[in-house]
């Protein structure tokens, strides 16, 4: 019986690996979900390396033209989560591929600028111009389960 429970437990732990190479560990932290997810989808930290998240959190006052400043304590907690789960730290699922394609000399702050994103999104213009898309960073417009880290539905 004990062995069975152990096996079941291991199976659960291993589950995400079965979800395929395109699986990206979703955001689980409530503060990150709330603060990073109010204006746009809370992007999974695995898409960028730790150095990118640090750069982004250093520049919240001009966040792609938006003043996304946060109180210092919240910003520090969010930074810690993003860095600890960054693609080059966690390295699970899609993150491993994404990081493998990124030059260590680059510190992109747009996921859409990464070689992995661009390689997977060679799409005709009309698809980007679909009114539901608005912008390339609007993952859930096409990947309806993006927030859960599932991008294989393309």
């Amino acid at each position: 019986m004990r062995k069975f429970i152990l096996a079941a437990g291991l199976a659960l732990i291993a589950l995400p690996a079965w979800a395929g190479d395109d699986w990206m560990p979703p955001v689980t932290d409530p503060l990150v979900k709330k603060e990073c997810g109010s204006c746009h989808m809370a992007f999974q930290p695995g898409f960028l390396p730790a150095r990118s998240w640090n750069k982004m959190m250093d520049g919240l006052a001009d966040h792609f033209g938006e003043d996304a400043s946060l109180p210092a304590d919240k910003a520090a907690a969010i930074r810690a989560y993003l860095v600890n789960n960054a693609g080059d730290v966690a390295g699970q699922g899609r993150a491993r591929k994404a990081m493998g394609r990124l030059s260590s000399a680059d510190t992109p702050i747009r996921i859409t600028d990464t070689p992995d994103f661009q390689r997977k999104h060679r799409l005709p213009d009309w698809r980007w111009k679909d009114p539901k898309v608005v912008t390339k960073s609007n993952c859930p417009a096409c990947h309806v389960e993006a927030e859960r880290g599932l991008y294989e539905d393309d």
Partner: protein, 135 residues
């Protein structure tokens, strides 16, 4: 006998959203009233004009509040920059609106800069909330 009772119960339910009073919202309004020099009350009609005016003072993608919130604040909106869905702003359909002072301040700071190209005054914020309370 039963029918009038049911009718009045239904009316009560239907009317409930209009009474979505919240002490936290009142406190936020009271703070803006205090900060509004020469305060003579907030105005829903001034709030509506703030909401509908094409300010074109900030980001070109958000010339007005309606760029994201649509002409009807009881409807879902959509962030004009990111495509992210936005819950209705009208209190009658979204009673959580204007109840978290930090959130309210953060959103006004961001959105006023984006739409008007400047911060909103305490009077404008109070007017806006007052308009949305009647919507």
């Amino acid at each position: 006998m039963i029918r009038p009772l049911m009718l009045s119960a239904a009316l009560l339910l239907a009317a409930a959203p209009a009474f979505a009073a919240d002490a936290r919202r009142d406190a936020i309004l009271a703070d803006y009233a205090k900060a509004d020099s020469g305060h003579t009350g907030f105005s829903a009609s001034r709030g509506e004009s703030l909401f509908r005016t094409q300010w074109k003072g900030g980001d070109e993608r958000t010339p007005s509040c309606t760029a994201c919130h649509t002409d009807n604040p009881r409807q879902n909106g959509r962030n004009a920059k990111t495509g992210r869905p936005i819950d209705p702003v009208a209190v009658s359909v979204n009673s959580k609106r204007f109840t978290d002072v930090d959130l309210v301040e953060k959103q006004f700071t961001r959105d006023c800069k984006s739409v008007l190209g400047r911060e909103c005054t305490p009077r404008e914020k109070g007017d806006y909330i007052t308009f949305m309370m009647g919507q």
